[in-house]
Amino acid sequence: MIDATGFEHRLGRLEEIARALEADGVDLAQALALFEEGIEQLRAAADELSRAETHVQRLVERSDGTFEVIDPRE
């Protein structure tokens, strides 16, 4: 299962990288480092997407008021 916050974070970071690369005044070494990081983030995000899966479960409240998520009997 994707760490969704991770995926969201990756998209945010990709946006930052694109913006930094598009800005004036970034030096070449920095630009290359950003580019490399961008490629790495893209690869990892695509990887995560390919592993996506949907689970269906059911919420059960125990008598002590705590909750449990169980797989439904199918």
């Binding site: 994707i2 916050t5 996506a52």
Partner: protein
């Protein structure tokens, strides 16, 4: 059944005395109204007059026993909601009217109190209020023409929620873009759940769908929906909650117009998507939820980003970053080329300048050169150390020196002291 109860206070013991054949069948073997040769029956003469209460109570027994519950249609007038919680009104047509009551306990099944002038159908029983000797219709169900009561109930609920600020647009919270856990409050056997699960699966969304079962129609539906929403809230494990059901008759969707359910939706700390029925159905829950989805399918789509969308988004980022990098490199190489050209120009200029200076220096140097003087027949005396000997004082007797002439040097020595050259 026939009215047979005769209070003992009447003083006559025959309980079937007031049986009236016209109002129904008699039990087998029950005595006839006027048994032959019987003594006078109560009220037959002034002497045997019955009490008012006997009359009205007997009337009640007779009338209440004679009618099965019926739907009666008419127009509402003189509606009053009494302090004690019961509703009173008259139901009338052009020629007649009857007093009606809706006991407080029976009001649950009626969407809203009726207004005067409403054309309604009332389901109830004809009763007699013996204490006042009045007939009244005891109503347990009420339906207004054009679904007027439901419309009124919606307006009332809406106004109450609005007064509490629950319909304000700025209450709407944004949904998380990437929910990990989606709670689904609906019937576990309903079409809505089936639709939601298949849409989320089809979109390849990486989520857990957690079903929180609740009846979505029938008397218990509002309580069950409230309870399920409360569970979602207390559990706290969901990023978003879908509450809804598939399409159905208007009455079947009614639980989603219940004020309690709407308030439970509003109170839920998890962002809510309401999905009730078809596109054309709008419920009170829809107004309160953070997002109104037209159908459960639309709710599932709104809740989850699709695999294809996310891939497209990654592609977009990829193109943008590569473009930015390429652009940055092109700008730099252009700048470099420009700089190179500039540098070459500057260097060229510099070299030309120096070349000129060199030439003039060479000319000057040439002018000062002793080589030309030597060529004309002069010579230069130099010590062995190479110093020019230009004065007689520099010469010592016997000192070796050399003479530099046009085409070479000649070794020499001073012969005599004083100014004579050897």
């Amino acid at each position: 059944m026939t009215g047979r109860r005769l209070p003992r206070s009447v003083g006559r013991s025959d309980p079937d005395l007031f049986s009236v054949g016209a109002f129904g069948s008699e039990s087998p073997g029950s005595p006839r109204l006027e048994p032959p040769g019987s003594p006078e029956y109560p009220g037959e003469s002034a002497r045997s007059a019955v009490a008012v209460s006997v009359l009205t109570q007997t009337a009640r027994d007779v009338i209440e026993g004679a009618f099965i519950p019926l739907w009666v249609r008419g127009e509402i007038s003189d509606f009053k909601s009494h302090r004690n919680g019961h509703w009173y009104f008259c139901l009338r047509d052009s020629t007649a009217q009857i007093r009606c009551v809706v006991w407080k306990r029976d009001q649950r099944g009626i969407p809203a109190p009726p207004d005067d002038g409403m054309q309604v159908a009332a389901f109830g029983r004809l009763t007699v209020y013996a204490a006042r000797g009045e007939m009244q219709y005891t109503v347990t169900r009420l339906e207004a023409e054009g679904d007027g009561l439901r419309r009124k109930a919606l307006e009332i609920t809406r106004a109450r929620l609005e007064a509490d600020g629950l319909l304000a647009p700025d209450r709407k919270r944004p949904l998380p873009r990437f929910p990990r856990v989606i709670a689904v409050v609906t019937s576990p056997d309903g079409a809505a759940l089936h639709d939601i699960v298949s849409v989320v699966r089809r979109r390849g969304a990486d989520v857990r769908l957690v079903i929180v079962p609740a009846a979505v129609q029938g008397q218990t539906a509002p309580e069950e929906l409230c309870f399920a929403l409360d569970q979602v809230d207390r559990w706290g494990g969901a990023d978003v909650v879908i509450v809804g059901r598939g399409g159905g008759a208007r009455e079947d969707l009614w639980a989603f117009n219940d004020e309690r359910v709407a308030r439970a939706v509003a109170a839920c700390r998890v962002p809510t998507i309401s999905a009730v029925g078809h596109e054309t159905d709008t419920s009170i829950c829809d107004l309160v939820a953070d997002l109104r989805a037209a159908t459960p399918t639309a709710a599932a789509e709104a809740a989850t980003p699709s695999h294809a969308e996310l891939c497209a988004e990654l592609r977009k980022h990829s193109v943008r970053i590569a473009g930015a990098m390429r652009g940055g490199l092109r700008t730099r190489s252009d700048a470099l080329r420009h700089l190179g050209r500039h540098l070459a120009g500057a260097a060229n200029h510099h070299v030309m300048q120096r070349r000129g200076a060199l030439q003039s220096a060479a000319a000057r140097l040439h002018a000062l050169s002793p080589v030309a003087t030597l060529a004309r027949g002069y010579s230069v005396a130099r010590s062995t150390a190479g110093a020019t000997l230009s004065s007689a004082d520099a010469f010592r007797p016997g000192m070796p020196f050399e003479l530099v002439v046009r085409d070479g040097t000649v070794q020499a020595r001073v012969r005599t002291p004083g100014g004579e050259v050897a």
